[in-house]
């Protein structure tokens, strides 16, 4: 699964531009399930299990990642941008981006030698940042880029032991786990969605859930881990290597209590997410149609929404085990 994850992270798929990720996922799951691509670009798949399920189950992972969209080209060939999804300025300044053509840009700034006083400690506003693609004029820039083009933060994938650093771990971990679930034999039928546009407002999953019409949903995600030096324990939210995180509530969803409790008592490596910030596709899915009983299964991830996300493969394996177990419990009518 780690090799699959690395392949997925190397692909660029800012929200609304998930084509490369979608093509790769289809190449992986084709032959293992029935699938279609809907009007927005979601992959909707049906996995035939050994037994019919007592309830319709949807398992979701989103394909998109945060990125930047070009809004203006200056006469000198620099590109102004807005963020696609939430990216904080600290992880933009002096970072690299990659465009769909495979070419690179740099989010440049004034060198430290020319900054004075308080400026040294203050981040520029996003409006003050520009991307340098090596063009000397607007005309030269226009040969490579048009306003409306998107790019993503790039970062080398590295692995120390079981810990991986890569871009886009949010939510390629979920994609890797969902691909794995679809490729292996399943005891029960279930539906899957690889959804688009999560980072711009949980948009793909909304129509995917409407289409699949599930009674239960499992959302495979990556969530903020702040188990880093200098952060007090009560603010660390969840910790790497201590299992998949399940939430009781976040900014978008109050989770199904029965599913939450069952996950904690599953005997698998599971930790409660000790915080209520953030949100994920559950927010859209649990309000679909008449309502869907939903739980998010999240891999703890440090420095999420940066070019250097860090996660532990053991937590991803825990996510896989818990998803497999929950599908079986729900499909068998154990959690009705």
């Amino acid at each position: 699964m780690i090799e699959l994850l690395k392949q997925l992270c190397e692909l660029d798929g800012a929200s609304g531009n998930e084509d490369a990720v979608r093509a790769f996922i289809l190449s992986q799951i084709d032959g293992f399930c029935r699938w279609e691509v809907d009007a927005l670009g979601n992959i909707l798949a049906h996995k035939k299990g050994k037994n019919p399920a007592k309830h319709r189950i949807m398992v979701d992972a989103h394909m998109d990642e945060v990125g930047l969209i070009i809004t203006h080209i200056t006469p000198d060939g620099f590109l102004h941008f807005k963020t696609v999804g939430g990216i904080d300025t600290p992880v933009l300044l002096f970072h690299r981006v990659r465009f769909a053509g495979g070419f690179y840009g740099v989010i440049g700034g004034k060198p430290i030698h020319l900054t004075t006083g308080e400026e040294k400690k203050k981040l520029p506003k996003i409006e003050q940042l520009t991307i340098d693609i090596g063009a000397a004029s607007a005309e030269e820039a226009a040969q490579k880029v048009s306003v409306g083009d998107v790019c993503v933060l790039t970062g080398e994938t590295v692995q120390n032991g079981t810990v991986v650093k890569a871009k886009a771990l949010d939510d390629r971990v979920g994609c890797a786990v969902l691909i794995t679930l679809l490729k292996e034999e399943s005891d029960f039928d279930f539906d899957a969605s690889f959804s688009v546009q999560e980072e711009v407002g949980l948009r793909g999953a909304r129509v995917a859930a409407h289409h699949l019409n599930p009674e239960f949903a499992l959302v495979l995600e990556a969530t903020t881990a702040a188990d880093i030096a200098g952060v007090p324990p009560e603010k660390q939210v969840c910790r790497l290597g201590e299992g998949v995180a399940v939430s009781f509530m976040d900014g978008a969803t109050v989770y199904d209590r029965v599913l939450y409790q069952a996950a904690l008592e599953s005997g698998l490596p599971v930790q409660p997410k000790r915080g209520t910030s953030g949100g994920n596709n559950s927010g859209a899915v649990h309000l679909s149609r008449d309502g869907v009983r939903t739980l998010a299964l999240s891999v703890p991830c440090r420095y999420i929404h940066s070019a250097s996300c860090v996660a532990d493969v053991r937590d991803m394996e825990a996510q896989l085990c818990l998803a497999r177990w929950m599908i079986r419990q729900i499909a068998d009518g154990q959690l009705s």
Partner: protein, 338 residues
């Protein structure tokens, strides 16, 4: 790909900080076909080419790079570091680095999510910005205090002529010196050339002092990088990317050398721009000019963006302009022959 570009990529990848030998070894590998090379214990590389007279021109390009040094390792594998050189702390969150411990360990600067900090992170002290080794408790077994930490970034082209990467300050100038050595490989230059790839420039122009004392040249030209134009940068503070070699004029520089360089650029139609400084240049020229009984010194710079980050950017055409200019300067017998 040109030799110059290929050399620049190899030199950018290499690490030259603390006791890490990569940059020195890479430079010696590139220079040794053309010059006699010696590496001293502080990782200065001397490469000499004998000339037709006994005058010696020292050509300096510092080999070191801005870096960090480990001061503490905690139980969970997070490092505290001090800066070696002028780092922009705002550029560090989520920045990939290599820790040069018992082996090379990829790591990353922490970035605290905004909802867990009160607004923007504080950039008061580098000691508050921890490094995540991804190793947890294992880190203490392979990393020790005093180990070097370097930026970790592969150089990539932005366009046909522009390249971004780490340590282009000042490997861009080192690449120019390699190209110069190559150009004089088949002929004897009119004077002795001593290429000095000096150490510890980023710590306060240190390595060049002892290096120049040893060489005792008749004159010196320092090659370095300087600020290029960009959004938010006053045109008064910078040169322009792609507009050629920046010839330094300053009270601390030998005016004859500055003027000779300017005249040669004009005569040979080499793109150049004048960089005027009102005193210290912030480069090794400030130090080398005061070595021994004093050394007349010139300064030629390559415009560079995003200095002291791992996305430093240069235009290869500027490297070529500097190379052409210094080649003519050598052929003309230096700054003191008309």
């Amino acid at each position: 790909m040109s030799n110059l570009q290929q050399d620049l990529l190899a030199l950018s990848r290499a690490v030259g900080a603390g006791s890490v030998r990569g940059a020195a070894e890479t430079a010696v590998g590139l220079l040794s076909p053309y010059a006699d090379c010696e590496t001293t214990d502080n990782l200065t590389v001397f490469a000499t080419v004998n000339g037709a007279c006994n005058r010696t021109l020292l050509l300096d390009a510092h080999l070191d790079e801005v870096s960090m040094i480990v001061t503490d390792i905690d139980e969970n594998g997070f490092l505290t570091v001090s800066a070696c050189g002028g780092l922009d702390l705002r550029a560090l969150p989520a920045r990939p680095v290599t820790v040069h411990g018992r082996q090379e360990i990829p790591a990353v600067f922490c970035s605290v999510p905004p909802h867990l900090s009160d607004g923007d992170p504080s950039f008061d002290r580098i000691a508050d910005l921890k490094i995540d080794t991804l190793l947890g408790a294992e880190a203490k077994k392979v990393i020790a205090v005093g180990d070097t930490v370097s930026f970790r970034a592969e150089p990539v082209p932005l366009s046909d002529t522009r390249i971004t990467g780490k340590s282009l300050d000042n490997r861009a100038s080192v690449a120019v010196l390699v190209e110069l050595a190559r150009r004089f490989s088949a002929e004897k230059p009119p004077m002795n050339l001593c290429f000095v790839l000096s150490a510890q420039e980023e710590l306060g122009l240190r390595g060049i002092r002892t290096a120049a004392h040893r060489v005792q040249p008749d004159e010196a030209v320092v090659l370095d990088v300087s600020f290029a134009d960009g959004v938010g940068i006053s045109p008064l503070d910078c040169g322009n990317m792609g507009k050629g070699a920046m010839i330094g004029y300053s009270p601390v520089l030998e005016r004859k050398i500055s003027k000779k360089l300017t005249r040669l650029a004009q005569d040979h139609k080499i793109p150049y721009q004048i960089e005027v400084m009102d005193g210290h240049t912030g480069t090794n020229a400030d130090a080398v000019s005061l070595v021994g009984n004093g050394i007349p010194t010139g300064l030629v710079s390559i415009p560079l963006r995003n200095m002291h980050t791992d996305v430093e950017t240069v235009d290869l055409s500027d490297l070529k302009s500097v190379c052409d200019l210094i080649e003519h300067y050598i052929r003309a017998g230096g700054g003191f022959r008309d």
